[in-house]
């Protein structure tokens, strides 16, 4: 079974979000980058578990500049066999998906896994786009994945419940919470990651369909109004008459 796991970087979750250049650019100075949690905790770890039981290989792919190699090495330290980096700024989701699909066309992968979403752009876009570009089935928000021969059984979140689906390889899947348990890389993994193969490929020409022109921050909250814990009638009154939410 050949797995391709899409790995993106994301600012550490404690990052204070700020913008520069007249609010047109995310302020990168001082930002720590991590592997996007959904990609690392769920997509990558489940692919590794399945490879361990079924045999095969786990390749990661990242669309991004050379600076992204630290997060790629982290994925290798957790256990991926080899990595690919498409040497380009991930301009928009379509551009990113296009690059991954181009690479995947050559690779003969059985399952392509993405995370549910990136925690910076939160689009939940790349996985569905890859599936469309490859004309493969797409299972979104999978919380469980089992594979038997060429058939996978997947739990997928739907509004108000869970759907159990059966799908044949090859397919694309986005991984959500529940798929696997986070793995902490050990010393041996970290050492091994240094020498694992990291292939760099140049981007194929592709237009970006959307552009992020500028950003804003949410309005600051007004002062919190404190209410005496003995006086919940007052809270109810404020929620009704002032906030008008009940």
């Amino acid at each position: 079974m050949k797995f391709l796991v899409c790995i993106s970087k994301a600012p550490d979750t404690t990052t204070k979000i700020e913008f520069t250049d007249n609010n047109t650019k995310f302020k990168e100075a001082g930002v720590q980058y991590i592997v996007n949690p959904y990609d690392e905790w769920y997509a990558l770890v489940r692919a590794l578990e399945l490879k361990e039981s079924l045999g095969g290989s786990v390749t990661t792919i990242t669309v991004g500049p050379a600076e992204d190699e630290s997060i790629i090495r982290k994925a290798l330290a957790i256990g991926a066999d080899n990595a690919v980096r498409v040497n380009a700024e991930a301009k928009d989701a379509y551009f990113t998906a296009f690059q991954i699909a181009e690479y995947a066309k050559k690779g003969g992968f059985d399952v392509i896994l993405t995370g549910k979403e990136t925690i910076n752009y939160n689009g939940s876009q790349v996985g569905g786009m890859i599936a469309e570009l490859l004309d493969q089935p797409f299972v979104s928000l999978a919380t469980k994945l089992e594979i038997n021969g060429d058939t996978a059984t997947v739990d997928s979140e739907i509004t108000g419940g869970v759907e159990v689906l059966e799908v044949k390889t090859p397919f694309v899947l986005s991984a959500a919470k529940g798929m696997a348990e986070q793995r902490i890389p050990n010393m041996r993994g970290i050492m091994a990651a240094r020498t694992k193969p990291l292939e760099i490929v140049e981007a194929a020409p592709c237009d970006d369909l959307v552009t992020f022109e500028s950003y804003t921050l949410p309005e600051e909250k007004t002062e919190c109004k404190y209410i005496d814990p003995e006086n919940m009638a007052e809270l109810v009154n404020l929620l009704h008459n002032e906030a008008k939410v009940i």
Binding site: T13, A93, I119, S124, G161, V164, K168, Y215
Partner: protein, 313 residues
């Protein structure tokens, strides 16, 4: 301009998020809604009240397989001449919108929170609700995936014309073996009021008071991540940066410290009430109303007062 709105109605009814998408469409052009499955025509007609002129339903498609549904959308868009497609960013929308975008090479704005600006740009959630971005489309065709609870619908009083049709999308490549529904509860992504609790509640056996308060308010329940991780509550209740992002009218948080990752998922809420024993808890900085007190005492009292209020109103 002609707009096509796709909504998932497999539950047999039209969700609030779906009505918002129809309303959004009607604010930018003449709107046709397309859906599939067995939902009754009477239910679909009501979409007129949110501004839809027409509803097309393909009853032969009985699943929300992204492959089939995206074909349903693109064939219908071709038929109606729509160049803007709107879908709620609910769980089906997440799977379908990107497929449609890639199929049509149409720009996708995902997580939209407001009607387009005068120059066509749209505002979207980024950094898990910690900021907003303005997205410019570089394509004539556009796909908009709308964040639930972003708009207030103005009812029109109209009914929509419902028409059955067949888009001829072929077989699904995904087989649905089983559907497990979560019964009864108010669905968290759509809830107008959410009662949420964290580690301050000490153990799963204490959630009764959270559920009771939720019940009298007609609210959904949610929790912080550690609470879902230790198994006190189911994963689908976990809100925050690595869980669900929600934007109810009222979010009541008890025994949650208000870590930045938690706030990311809830700071789109219109009004936040925080109940915490620690006056220094960071959540108070994001709160509209704060109660420094023990959740074990405050929650039952609040429930009692809500009951009194409901009895009078």
């Amino acid at each position: 301009m002609s707009v096509l709105v796709y909504i998932d109605t497999l539950s047999g009814s039209v969700s609030k998020a779906a009505m918002e998408a129809a309303y959004y469409g009607s604010k930018i052009g003449s709107t046709t809604v397309v859906t599939n499955g067995e939902i009754s025509s009477a239910e679909l007609e009501k979409l007129g009240n949110c501004g839809a002129e027409k509803v097309l339903v393909d009853r032969s498609i009985t699943t929300n397989d992204a492959g089939q549904v995206s074909k349903l959308i693109t064939t219908t868009a071709e038929k109606t001449g729509a160049n803007t497609i709107v879908t709620p960013l609910d769980l089906t929308g997440r799977a379908v919108a990107p497929r449609v975008s890639a199929k049509l090479k149409a720009g996708l704005a995902s997580g939209v929170t407001a009607l387009p600006e005068s120059d066509g740009k749209v505002k979207v959630n980024v950094f898990s609700g910690k900021a907003f971005g303005f997205v410019k489309f570089n394509t004539d065709k556009k796909v908009i995936a709308l964040t639930p609870n972003s708009l207030q619908i103005e009812k029109t009083g109209n009914t929509a014309a419902v028409e059955e049709f067949s888009a001829g999308v072929g077989e699904s490549t995904v087989k649905v073996k089983e559907v497990r529904k979560q019964e009864g509860d108010v669905l968290l992504p759509e809830a107008e009021i959410v009662v949420s609790a964290g580690r301050g509640l000490k153990g799963p056996e204490n959630w009764g008071m959270v559920e009771e308060l939720a019940k009298v308010l007609g609210a959904a329940t949610a929790c912080s991540r550690p609470v879902a991780d230790i198994g006190w509550r189911p994963h689908h209740e976990h809100v925050g940066q690595t869980g669900l992002a929600i934007r109810p009218n009222l979010y009541i948080a008890a025994g949650i410290s208000g870590a930045i990752q938690h706030l990311a998922g809830v700071n789109g809420s219109k009004v936040i009430v925080v109940i915490n024993t620690d006056p220094e808890a960071p959540f108070f900085k994001a709160a509209d109303y704060g109660v420094v007190g023990d959740a074990f005492e405050v929650l039952p009292k609040l429930k009692e007062e809500i009951e009194k209020f409901k009895a009078q109103n």
